[in-house]
Subunit: 259 residues, 2 copies
């Protein structure tokens, strides 16, 4: 299994750094190929700007169109091209990051903003009155799987169905569905550690065992059953879920899960 | 009304740039004071790292603790201190940005990550077995209001209750509730423009009128009725919403709205 780990934490000796190191050693020991994008170590440029598109940047800048033109011409910057190549190489992508303000750190959001260009991750396939692209179940990255490995400072109860932060599955939906499933990646249930503000060295030993177990069973883990866009579940062109497909009482983001 | 506009788009001649300019001129013409944080023009540093905390950075780096220590000592970097000062000055904060991958551009997430430090935006008030801080309705920024002004490329139908992207209110909940309401800011219903990929100059004239109207009625607009953490709606210490408080059938993020 070819695995790319995208890792976003400024401190190598952090919990996130340890989980990343453990993922590398566990997967390599099991015979898998692993590559790591350590965004802080790479000094990853987090911000989209005209410099990303060189001679393909128009004036005024048009982010979508210009990024697609640079992509088509093979003229994106070397750092972005390298990440796109890694994504195409990978069978599995693990994202290791702390939940900062209920989302990813800026450096990782900037990886998405810059690497997921037009014609690579979006604007793929026919866009017309009868089809709105190949996405949500199809796309450039179809056939791949991804897993978020996330640390949260607060306790688990705050992230449950009635918890004050909202349910973790809903908090992660914009990443799971909106970023990963959009260009075709199947998404595995996340590995979330809670209460990390108070984690002890002893706690870590237990956590490490659970994480190893998740890593060694990735290939047999069922993905989150998101509905595919272009296979009958949605009206065209509104892309509304057809009436009656959901279990009684299901609302919100949960509508977009099968069964 | 003292208004801070935090603006995140790389192109001054973009739709987002025009909406920001219109907000400045409309509010100033109505006699309000306006300050703008133009993150791209400021070359805003998007990435949290040890350099943010100078002599208060420990080794290994601990982002929360070190940022709180630097905050307490008045030794955060001048760029961060200036933004905190603007937030304390402001009565209303408008965020103007394009929805990129269902969230804010990295440069704006980096503004949150770096400006919303420990002891300023979180880790405020008593944290014990009987109280988990002053947040969600209380906090350093209580008494202020915020408004997201957001542009989305796709059509509105994709962002409705049954739309494939999920409802816009749920997509914005991690920002509205998790970032803004957390340190005490009341959040006004967002101003969202859809289908901006296909917007014409004529469309913009209509849009501009609606935006002006929103801006001139900010002071009389009711905020989103999020539930306050410490006033009886939640169990302590689980911070679960107490049973029976929600209207029948209400689930997900919607639980955390009153009535």
């Amino acid at each position: 299994m070819k695995t790319l780990i995208v890792y976003a934490h400024p401190e190598p000796k952090s919990l996130n750094g340890s989980l990343k190191d453990l993922a590398v050693s566990t997967l390599e020991s099991a015979g898998h190929e692993v590559r790591v994008s350590d965004l802080y170590a790479m000094n990853w440029k987090a911000v989209v700007d005209a410099a990303d598109y060189g001679p393909d940047a128009s004036s005024p800048l048009q982010v979508a169109r210009d990024s697609g033109r640079a992509f088509d011409a093979g003229r994106l910057t070397p750092d972005v091209l390298a990440e796109q190549e890694k994504l195409l190489w990978a069978e599995t992508v693990i994202f290791q990051f702390p939940l900062w303000w209920y989302s990813m750190p800026a450096i990782l959001k900037g990886w998405v903003d810059r690497v997921f260009t037009f014609h690579f991750a979006y604007g793929v396939g026919e866009h017309s009155d009868t089809k709105y692209g190949e996405r949500f179940g199809e796309g450039t990255l179809a056939g791949r799987k991804a897993l978020l490995s996330v640390t949260a400072g607060g306790p688990e109860s705050h992230y449950t169905a009635r918890g004050i932060n909202g349910p973790i599955d809903d908090l992660l939906f914009p990443i799971h569905h909106g970023i990963l499933y959009y260009p075709g990646i199947e998404v595995l249930p996340p590995f979330v550690l809670y209460g990390t503000d108070r984690m002890t060295d002893e706690d870590y030993l237990d956590v490490a065992k659970v994480w190893e177990q998740r890593l060694l069973t990735l290939e047999s883990t069922e993905p989150i059953p998101f509905r595919r866009q272009n296979f009958g579940d949605y009206e065209i062109p509104s892309l509304h879920l057809k009436e009656g497909l959901e279990p009684a009482g299901r609302t919100g983001f949960g509508l977009h899960l099968r069964g």
